[in-house]
């Protein structure tokens, strides 16, 4: 049974590496609607596919350079909303600044052409200066060639606000619908008008007026520099610091788009089939999986709730591989060096009997992928006010520490979903990444949101550990509250599909362990799926640790025996000396 993930490549994806190199961070490159101007939000770059290749390339480079220079991150960008001329000036100034910053890594031809576009542009040393110059209507400036794309301050600012807004407004569908329609709008002036209307309605109440205050909307004394033809009173936005983007809420905004027509969805990198128990067949390319790297958040001072040595001891004896040991008292082979030494030593009257080579399991060869359920249900609080998610997150931290200490290859991914078109993996740490504070920050910033399409998640995790694990032993450890539920994914169907995915993994020699910490939900179903051997439910962290080793070991045994039985598996055989 062939189960393979397919990585799709649309033509604009060829610019991904170029974009990532110049932006100095990963940028997903997606196709905009043909004829629509290219733009970026700092994480995704939409390129106009109708442009000739050379122009696509230049647009990609220009936008990526702006990302690197930090032109898009400045909160003051709000002040550009609705002012076309100012936006254009800002882009010119910032591109010039970005070019100066990155001069050493630009292709020769592009640098020359860019100098041509930007000759005579005043030098700006920072975003703040660029913004000030741009807002000043007296600054005269050329426009950049149209194919380079544009800046969209309304969309960028809204993205920052949406996180907080989403949290406050989650319970009001009507208002959410209004917010969505704003998100889609092209005309920024109309957009801000809609925004005001959404929140000034009588239903807004306290939450609405609080939000207006946060956004700095509403009437304030006019800005004297406001001579650009912008709408007088409405857009005098204050300089309040915005909340950091809560990934969970942003995810909700993004996720709602599929219901409005899949034309706007960016293409997924991976497609997986789903098992339909009713039809007793696979639905090919049914689920779409995306991966993103979430932003991080600084950790508050925290006391380790669990001595990590206990976890370390548990997993220390898992995943060991054979290693040669020399100079043993007994073994199947002679240690040649020792034998010679022995012959030599006999002349001198020395006798050493450790002449043998033995092979024992002492070398570590385990790749572990921790799959953390970040769906909404894990965020529910129990009677004591605790969330399953926090316990799961803590467990993840401990596992990460222990694995890194032991030298195992370890990866951590969060997952959640909104329907089959959007199953999202949050890259906390991938296999080849070194452990760093950034990993901890990403873990810290996670917030539960979305649903749980368990089958797709297991399949993608299997693909990741199979592809990047590079070791003899591979394991996926799922931390979940057990509630597999999604759009058209529940009950017997969900259960059967998840079970099938587990089977596929085990057949490929990947051990699967499931830990359910601190949650009561849907326990029976998971227990059935994983079997008693590899499933554990505990009310709290401490109780789960002693059982870890048993769980992991039995899961590995299962995977090993299945793997040996299926001959078509392209396995990496352990080097048995």
């Amino acid at each position: 049974m062939m189960v393979r993930a397919v990585a799709m490549a649309s033509p604009v994806e060829r610019w991904t590496t170029l974009a990532g190199a110049l932006a100095a961070r990963p940028l997903s490159v997606l196709a905009a609607a043909p004829g629509e101007a290219s733009w970026t939000d700092g994480h995704r770059l939409w390129l106009d596919p109708a442009l000739p290749l050379a122009q696509q390339r230049e647009a990609c480079m220009a936008q990526a350079l702006l990302v690197e220079a930090g032109s898009l991150e400045y909160p003051g960008l709000r002040r550009l909303v609705g002012r076309r001329a100012a936006i254009s000036r800002y882009m010119v100034l910032e591109l010039a600044r970005a070019l100066r910053r990155s001069a050493a890594c630009l292709p020769v031809e592009f640098e020359e052409r860019a100098r041509g576009w930007l000759s005579g542009v005043p030098e700006s040393g920072s975003v703040e200066i660029s913004l000030a110059l741009a807002l000043d209507a007296r600054t005269a400036m050329l426009e950049l060639p149209a194919h380079l794309g544009r800046l969209r301050p309304a969309r960028l600012s809204w993205k920052r606000v949406a996180g907080r807004a989403g949290q406050i407004l989650r319970k009001t569908p009507m208002r959410e619908a209004r917010l969505e329609s704003i998100d889609e709008d092209e005309d920024t002036e109309e957009a801000t008008g809609k925004l005001l209307r959404a929140f000034s309605s009588p239903l807004a109440g306290a939450a609405g007026s609080l939000l207006l205050k946060i956004l700095g909307l509403g009437r304030t004394p006019g800005d004297t520099r406001d001579q650009d033809g912008a709408d007088g009173g409405a857009m005098a936005l204050g300089e309040e610091t915005m909340m950091s983007d809560a990934p969970g809420a942003d995810a909700e905004q993004t996720a709602r788009r599929p219901t409005q027509g899949s034309a706007k969805m960016p293409p997924a990198r991976w497609h997986y089939p789903e098992w339909s128990v009713a039809a007793q067949t696979y639905r090919p390319n049914w689920t779409h999986v995306h991966e993103i790297t979430p932003m991080g958040r600084s950790m508050a001072e925290r006391v380790d709730v669990l001595a990590s040595t206990s976890i370390r001891r548990q997993i220390a004896r898992i995943g060991l591989e054979f290693a040669r040991h020399r100079a043993q008292r007994d073994g199947p082979d002679f240690d040649l060096e020792r034998l010679v030494r022995h012959a030599v030593g006999r002349h001198a009257g020395e006798v050493d009997e450790r002449l043998y080579l033995a092979t024992r399991r002492t070398r570590r060869d385990l790749a572990l992928l921790v799959l953390l359920d970040v769906s909404q249900s894990t965020g529910d609080r129990d009677a004591q006010g605790r969330r399953a998610f926090d316990q799961q997150r803590e467990m993840t931290r401990q596992l990460l520490k222990a694995s890194v200490h032991l030298g195992d290859r370890v990866a951590v991914y969060g997952f959640h979903s909104w329907g089959r078109h959007l199953v999202r993996f949050l890259r906390i740490k991938h296999f080849s990444e070194l452990m760093s504070p950034a990993v901890g920050r990403r873990l810290e910033a996670l917030e539960p949101a979305g649903l749980t399409r368990l089958g797709a998640a297991i399949r993608h995790a299997t693909h990741l550990v199979d592809h990047d694990g590079q070791t003899r032993h591979r394991m996926v450890l799922l931390l979940t509250d057990g509630f597999a539920y999604d759009d058209e994914y529940e009950g017997a169907h969900a259960e059967a599909d998840a079970g099938r995915a587990l089977q596929e993994a085990t057949e490929r020699g990947i051990a699967c362990v499931c830990l359910n910490i601190g949650s009561e939900q849907d326990d029976e179903r998971l227990r059935r799926l994983y079997g008693e051997a590899a499933y554990l439910r505990c009310s709290n962290l401490h109780k789960s640790v002693p059982a870890l080793r048993r769980l992991m070991r039995s899961a590995m045994r299962q995977a090993d025996s299945r793997q040996r039985r299926s001959p078509n598996r392209h396995s990496k055989e352990a080097a048995r000396p």
Partner: protein
């Protein structure tokens, strides 16, 4: 049982032959640091990713200081006996044979242990008495203790980016040494290396260096390793030897970096942008 063959570089090289050339382009104060450490009889640790010029640097310094250089490539099967020496059977007699470390100590040479992290910890421990103020080498089998002459110097190299923590250099070893961090060279230095040491055309060198700078900015997730200066040199040499620059770059830079087809295509698009 194979004794590691020491590689000796006489002081001063033959510039006509690329392999014997010991010239070097400095990035910072590393030449002064090495010289001073040698005068002060301190051991040196060179830290940095592969292909940035650590070995070339040591060869240059040995030539500059006029000392013989004995290089030992380290690996997991390297034993203390491989370093110190062992008895061999010759007919009915047993004959002692010095290992490369012992020879270096006797001759007052520079002993360079490359990728020392690969060796087992119990092997590396043999070096400890040589690395502190005693500067002694214990040869138990001979019942001798050698005192290192002033000219002797121990140089270790290692790549700290190696992922597995099990293969880390022990703190007790690390703290005995003076360390130099070798990072990827600055663009000007890399350009000079290509032009002066490998005779690459300056315009070509400029393009290659820009390309490398761009690729090195890629996030670690996109590529498992960055472009080493060595790869650039290979591309430059292929081009110098008559290959089209684009093909040379694909062979020397893109192909070794990634096996993923989508990534390869993306890298080729990048190369086209910079070198076409």
């Amino acid at each position: 049982m194979i004794m590691p063959r020491p590689v000796s570089t006489p002081a001063g090289g033959n510039p006509a032959n690329l392999e014997d050339d010991t010239s070097y382009v400095a990035s910072g104060n590393e030449i002064t640091l090495f010289e001073t450490a040698w005068h002060e009889r301190l051991p040196l640790l060179l830290k940095g990713p592969t292909g940035v010029g650590k070995t070339r640097f040591v060869e240059h310094m040995a030539a500059r200081l006029g000392r013989p250089l004995i290089t030992v490539p380290c690996h997991e099967d390297l034993t203390a006996a491989d370093l110190v020496g062992r008895y061999l059977l010759q007919g009915n007699d047993t004959v002692w044979m010095d290992g490369p470390l012992t020879r270096a100590v006797r001759e007052g040479a520079i002993c360079y242990l490359d990728e020392v992290v690969e060796a087992r910890a119990d092997t590396v421990v043999v070096l400890h008495p040589l690395m502190d103020h005693r500067r002694e080498l214990h040869i138990e089998r001979l019942g001798q203790t050698l005192r290192a002459p002033p000219a002797f110097m121990l140089v270790l190299s290692y790549n700290p980016g190696y992922q597995s923590l099990m293969k880390e250099l022990k703190a007790s070893t690390r703290q005995r040494m003076v360390a130099i961090d070798f990072d990827f060279p600055k663009p000007e230095v890399e350009r000079r290396v290509l032009v002066e040491l490998y005779h690459v055309d300056p315009a070509v060198a400029d393009r290659l260096v820009r390309l490398a700078q761009a690729i090195r900015r890629l996030d670690a997730e996109s590529l498992s390793e960055a472009v080493s200066p060595r790869a650039l040199v290979a591309a430059g040499r292929l081009a110098h030897g008559g290959m089209a620059l684009r093909e040379a770059a694909i062979a020397a830079i893109a192909a070794p970096l990634s096996d993923d087809a989508a990534m390869r295509e993306s890298l080729v698009a990048l190369i086209d942008t910079y070198l076409a």
